[in-house]
């Protein structure tokens, strides 16, 4: 027994010792490999600095600190992340590992992958060695390198390859710490060969700073060297690269969407020209099966504009294959309009099906076609519509200039009305009957706050707001919601409440006024507060999703626009008083209609800039209107004009 236990002791001592030593040896070998990999790649890693440029981009303070670039060809070609140039700097300077400074020019951008190619007047540089694309394995060591410190050796972060083919097939993912200190630098393997070039990316967004919020989080991305090598020639020719677009939307959206059934095919888009139509189901792209919508996005996501693809689709149980070439820009989408306001009364009883016309807007196709107030529309082109949302959807899927046959019930008789659709406008009807029908509200036993009150979201005093809900509020009648965003340093609470209270009462609108947490005004981060507040109000009140507008005056313009443009699913209207647009407008999108109204004094110095804003919106086919107040300077308008704004909000649900 004793012999036995002693030998066990012996074995266990030597075994645990050898495990420890093996651990130690492995750790030390790996450590050595990290350093050697960095040393191998170091001669190809340049430091990039910028001079001048903007401070704030997309709500983030842009860094003015140095970033990194990778030498991809010996004669002065350096690739880097576009993030470095989001601030539109006046001058770009490259410092090579040997300390030489060079001025650099931007030759081309890859907008699909947030890369920028720079050229410096130098030769005999050492280009980075790309890693073989086939050898990149999830789980292998991945070393992120940057050159942002005043040091001869690159800065290092060590991780592994977390995934390949991320962000719709565009990027390698790593858990090494990726941040502005290494954006534009290489992600290398232990041999010092480049797996890719580090960029901030976000699967849901596409601007230069998308994904920066994820810095140092363990989720970082690199564009594979294989892609860069493939497009380098085009970039060197000065060709900007864009994501390729086909011009179709699917009935189901989001990451869990099912089969790729086409919902809309934009006229003049490559998809339309090649013969795709609404109702087709895409089954293959480039012979790769696409059983669900994300499969389609995944294949298209890695494609550039100008690249040809083949699309196989199912129509009437027959499969067809077409070829098309992706484009970078689609012709702006133009929303169609019939020209009616639908009734908000929910129909009950026998004659419940259809949508009742509450008002025919003057000068619209509906008026020309002879539609009348109280007509009940029961079918569109022979297809029955059972309620307002079906009518909205049926019309929304057509194009301006499309002919449409409506069946209506007028005074008990069925009649047929032919109309030719027009373009959606944001014009304000001169008269608009109040739709807040019931004077006696029926709130039952439900405890809801009405009148004016002040509160703070989540009891957070930095998220304080005031609100006004008309006494007539009735949960059975969906209400319009106006979010008032005050100018910097002045909540204008009593003035705005005094002007708006009568129109809110008249039109049943709910008004909320968040207060900026900073006395200096709104920061783009406050958009979250604004949308959280809308969410809070919607939780407690019945709000018509088609009549939610954000309204602001003067220097609140940026936050108003950022709210409206970023939260496309929330806001249907945006109203700016005494201010032009300060943020570039988005693309018109069929699924998130947005109307914009400007109101200015005829003597307001901002008038000229606002006219330019209107022009740019109309170019993008976003319905917009400018209302000028005679003999009025830069000031908030009087009651009569506030009523115009309220009328416009009340007509946002136009079809």
């Amino acid at each position: 027994m004793r012999h036995h236990s002693l030998s066990t002791l012996f074995i266990s001592i030597t075994m645990s010792l050898s495990v420890v030593i093996a651990d130690e040896r492995l750790e030390s070998l790996e450590e050595q490999a990290f350093r050697e990999a960095a040393a191998m790649a170091a001669p190809s890693i340049a430091r990039i600095e910028t001079v001048g440029g903007l401070d704030v981009i997309h709500g983030l303070l842009t860094p003015s600190g140095p970033t990194t670039g990778v030498v991809v060809a010996a004669d002065g070609w350096i690739i880097t992340s576009s993030f470095n140039f989001a601030s539109q700097p006046a001058s770009i300077l490259v410092t090579l590992p040997d300390g030489q400074h060079f001025p650099a020019d931007v030759v081309a951008n890859d907008y699909a992958r947030s890369l920028t190619l720079l050229k410096i007047d130098a030769d005999s540089l050492q280009p980075i060695t790309p890693a073989s694309a086939e050898d990149i394995q999830v789980g292998q060591w991945a070393i992120a390198l940057g050159r942002t410190y005043d040091q001869p050796f690159p800065n290092i972060s060590v991780g592994i390859v977390s995934a390949v083919g991320r962000i719709w097939g565009r990027a390698v993912q790593t858990d090494a710490k990726i941040s502005p200190t290494n954006y534009g630098g290489p992600l290398v393997n232990v041999q010092g060969e480049a797996i890719g070039v580090l960029v901030p990316l976000d699967p849901q967004k596409s601007n230069e700073t998308a994904g920066v919020e994820w810095y140092d989080s363990g989720i970082g991305f690199a564009i594979p060297m294989e892609t860069i090598t493939r497009v380098l020639g085009r970039l060197q020719e000065g060709e900007d690269l864009h994501p390729g677009r086909i011009g179709v939307t699917f009935g189901e959206q989001g990451l869990t969407a099912g089969r790729p059934l086409l919902d809309r095919v934009r006229p003049t888009s490559p998809g339309y020209k090649a013969g795709l139509r609404a109702g087709d189901v895409i089954t293959h792209i480039n012979d790769i099966a696409t059983p669900r919508v994300p499969h389609v996005r995944h294949i298209l996501g890695s494609k550039y504009a100008g690249e040809p693809i083949t699309v196989t689709f199912l129509r009437d149980d027959a499969e067809q294959t077409i070829e098309l070439t992706l484009v970078d820009e689609l012709e702006a989408y133009t929303a169609p309009m019939l020209g009616i306001l639908p009734s908000r009364v929910t129909l009950t009883g026998e004659d419940a099906a259809g949508a009742i016309v509450r008002l025919v807007l003057p000068g619209t196709p509906a008026e020309a076609a002879g539609l009348q107030r109280r007509d009940r529309i029961i079918s569109v082109d022979g297809i029955p519509v059972t309620d307002v949302s079906e009518l909205r959807q049926a019309i929304g899927h057509m194009q301006p200039d499309d002919a449409v046959e409506l069946t209506v019930i007028r005074e008990g008789n069925e009649e047929s009305v032919s109309a030719t659709l027009g373009e959606m406008t944001a014009e304000v009807p001169d008269t608009l009957p109040s739709a807040a029908e019931s004077a006696d509200s029926d709130r039952g036993d439900e405890e809801v706050r009405v009148g004016r009150w002040v509160d703070a979201l989540g009891e957070d005093e930095s998220r304080a707001y005031w609100a006004y809900v008309p006494e007539s509020y009735d949960p059975g009648q969906p209400r319009g919601l106006v979010v008032w965003l005050h100018p910097a340093g002045d909540t204008m609470e009593s003035e705005v409440l005094k002007l708006w209270q009568p129109v809110c009462d008249r039109r049943g609108l709910i008004l909320v006024g968040p207060k900026s947490s900073q006395p200096s005004g709104w920061t783009p981060a406050d958009v979250d507060f604004v949308t959280d507040l809308v969410e809070e109000i919607r939780e407690h009140y019945t709000i018509d999703p088609h009549r939610i507008a954000v309204h602001g005056y003067g220097d609140a313009s940026p936050i108003v626009a950022v709210s409206a443009f970023r939260e496309r699913d929330v806001f249907r209207g945006m109203s700016l008083v005494g201010a032009p647009l300060r943020v570039p407008p988005p693309e018109a999108h069929p699924d998130s209609p947005l109307q914009i109204q400007f109101m200015l004094g005829a003597d307001d110095p901002a008038l000229e800039a606002t006219e330019a804003s209107l022009e740019s919106l109309r170019e993008r086919k976003i319905p917009a209107t400018l209302i000028t107040i005679p003999d009025h300077g830069h000031a908030y308008p009087s009651a009569e004009w506030v009523d115009v704004i309220a009328r416009w909000v009340d007509a946002l649900d136009r079809i």
Partner: protein, 345 residues
């Protein structure tokens, strides 16, 4: 049988010795062994705070068997009672022996004996790529008799924390280890950074944001910068003899003192374009021209007019000033010298 067993024991002893000696003892330590050794030497500190996002907890590490311990100089110590909790759960009230705010350093003492500790004669230095472990009571995750948390990473870079560069709002100016792991969160300050084989490198500093890249910095202050002061406080012969260095920007010279007129500084980052060069000035003699863009001054990036004026403000009389300008597509170097006397203002 017994003799055979004795023989076996002897063989195993020899083998163990051999195995141990094949690698240098001080370095032949795996991360696992390092963690075992380091954890009992790092403590949790509880003191003032708990309001307005200021945490009331921190970390520290033992430097003597008699209970001397080092931490950062912070609001946590500004309490009537500062409590130190060891890894085994033993609690002590701590006495503040001394502090050096310019090093963000404080030394505490608890009344204990025979504690495991870090030997300040055994501190080490390391460079980028070195695997490191960081030990701290980050986010107060460790309570009672639990040891502090360990995270791993590599040294990303060594860098100077310099108030002059305007990057950091911090009184410590000197080299730091920048780490690629998220080491500096609430409560981590005062923890230690070691190599994976257990060599003591630095003390984790308080949370800092890099004002140039707007990112949070993960870093530790090398103990080689702190150890002399720690020893002085420990032995009681410490006096704060350092002049409190002014971090205010000097305003010695302006661009006009060199004959340079910059474009009007209208926005936060107006690029430093030369608007005019004064006749007969040094700048004119050296060939500076209107529309030149000043991009470096004494090898420091000039990202705006303001940055250039700050750089000139730092110059002493007769100092050299080398500026690099971008003219057209090329960079040109122009050497200037500051005037021999400070201008009268």
């Amino acid at each position: 049988m017994i003799s055979r067993n004795g023989q076996l024991l002897r063989i195993s002893a020899v083998l163990v010795c051999l195995l141990l000696c094949t690698a240098p003892v001080a370095h032949a330590q795996s991360s696992r062994q390092t963690i075992e050794t380091v954890l009992p030497r790092v403590v949790k500190i509880f003191g003032a705070g708990g309001v307005k996002n200021l945490e009331s907890y921190g970390s520290g590490f033992l430097v003597s068997a008699e209970g001397h311990l080092v931490t950062v100089w912070s609001h946590v110590l500004d309490a009537d009672r500062v409590t130190v909790v060891l890894d085994d759960g033993r609690r002590f009230d701590a006495e503040l022996l001394g502090a050096e705010p310019s090093l963000e350093l404080a030394v505490l003492k608890i009344d204990a004996q025979d504690l495991p500790f870090f030997d300040l004669d055994q501190i080490s230095d390391a460079g980028p790529g070195t695997r490191v472990l960081a030990f701290s009571n980050v986010f107060e995750v460790a309570v009672g008799d639990e040891p502090v948390s360990v995270v791993h990473g590599v040294i990303a870079a060594t860098d100077e924390l310099s108030a002059r560069s305007g990057r950091y709002d911090v009184s410590y100016t000197g080299p730091v280890y920048v780490v690629d792991a998220v080491t500096n969160n609430s409560g981590a300050a005062g923890g230690v950074l070691t190599t994976r084989d257990g060599q003591l490198l630095g003390m984790i500093g308080r949370q800092l944001q890099n004002s140039q890249s707007n990112t949070w910095l993960n870093y530790a202050m090398p103990l080689s910068e702190l150890d002399t002061t720690i020893r002085q406080i420990q032995s009681g012969d410490f006096s704060r003899n350092r002049d409190s260095e002014s971090t205010e920007f000097d305003d010695n010279f302006d661009s006009i003192d060199f004959g340079i007129v910059l474009v009007p500084d209208v926005v936060e980052r107006t690029p430093a374009y030369v608007d005019a060069v004064l006749d007969g000035s040094q700048a004119m003699a050296e060939g500076l021209q209107p529309d030149d863009l000043i991009v470096f001054a004494n090898n420091r990036l000039v990202h705006s007019c303001k940055a250039f004026e700050e750089e000139l403000g730092q110059l002493q009389p007769s100092d050299d000033l080398t500026v690099v300008v971008r003219r057209g597509g090329v960079l040109l170097t122009i050497s200037l010298t500051a005037p021999r006397t400070l201008p009268q203002r």
